[in-house]
Amino acid sequence: MADTTTGAATGHAMATHAPTGHGAHGHHPRLQHHFYSMEQQLEASTLGMWVFLVTEIMFFGGLFMAYIVYRTMYPLAWVESSRELNVLMGGTNTAVLICSSLTMVLAVRCAQVGSRKGLVTSLIATILLGSVFLVVKFFEYKAKFAHGLVPGPYWDPHAVAADGTLQRITLPFGSEIFFALYFIMTGIHAAHMIVGIGLMTVILVMSAKGRFSAEYYNPVEISGLYWHFVDIVWIFLFPLLYLLGYHLGNVG
């Protein structure tokens, strides 16, 4: 923010230029005229993205609020239902997302030091790791459908024994609410992952075309913020959904 005052004089001078002829009057072609400097432009982008992420915090916050209310109402259902989730798959996905956050932050760093090759490679790694997460999630959902753990008219919790016979499971009252929240929270999280992968694909194409440099990489930076935010949501979903009944043994 230091240059807000020092940049005022030059900024004012810039504003007197006609909006044509970028690059001819000594500033970066990616600097828009309503900013004093590239630094201020990046600060504004970052701040704007965080304001959006705060709305996302409140969006997921409402779901976590519902989770807290129903967990206090049906503590037993929460523990018993949690045992039906697959801790290995959930834990693997947590690790996969943490790895994707590392590749994302390395992508931003590559952009900062002007390494186009590093940027492209890191973005591809991030997209691949995000896709691995969704594939694991698909198999998790598939197993939940197969075991009748979808709330609603088809709610019929059961396990399949080795000889193929069905074994009904009696889950405590409130378990359907647990699974409703499980599907809504992980489903909306997965939707955010899909959007994130789409964003990263756009950033990847822009990177490959050489649209970013050490001076201008704002889209990489703020898409990265989004990606990390989605990672944070999962960091909370994993213990709150998967680990509640882990000490009683995992059956999922």
Binding site: E39, E43, L47, V54, I57, G224, F229, L243
Partner: protein, 100 residues
């Protein structure tokens, strides 16, 4: 050159290793029955992990004071939601009003 703060790769790798270790720790801790402490441990580790991501990966440490205020305010408002929400639900049966 940009004046962006360039963080050494080893810092990011150290944060990444810490996050993976904490993931294993939270899973390991959840396999024991500590009573109500299970939730406290799980949330403590999750908050630590989230803070590491926000401070280092999202780079809030190197952002302007204004951005920092917005970030803190966002999480502060979340606690207002939880605080006021639960102060409603947890006190509903304190007085025997039919239909609550």
């Amino acid at each position: 050159m940009s004046t962006a703060h360039i963080v050494p790769v080893r810092t990011y790798v150290a944060v990444w290793v810490t996050l993976l270790v904490l993931t294993l720790t939270t899973s390991w801790a959840a396999s024991y029955d500590f009573g109500f402490l299970n939730t406290a441990i799980a949330l403590g580790i999750a908050v630590t992990k989230a803070s590491l991501v926000v401070i280092f990966f999202m780079g809030v440490r190197y952002n302007t004071p204004l951005t920092k205020v917005v970030v803190v305010a966002g999480f502060f408002w979340l606690f207002i939601l939880f605080g006021l929400g639960m102060s409603d639900y947890m006190t509903r049966d304190w007085i025997g009003v039919p239909g609550r």
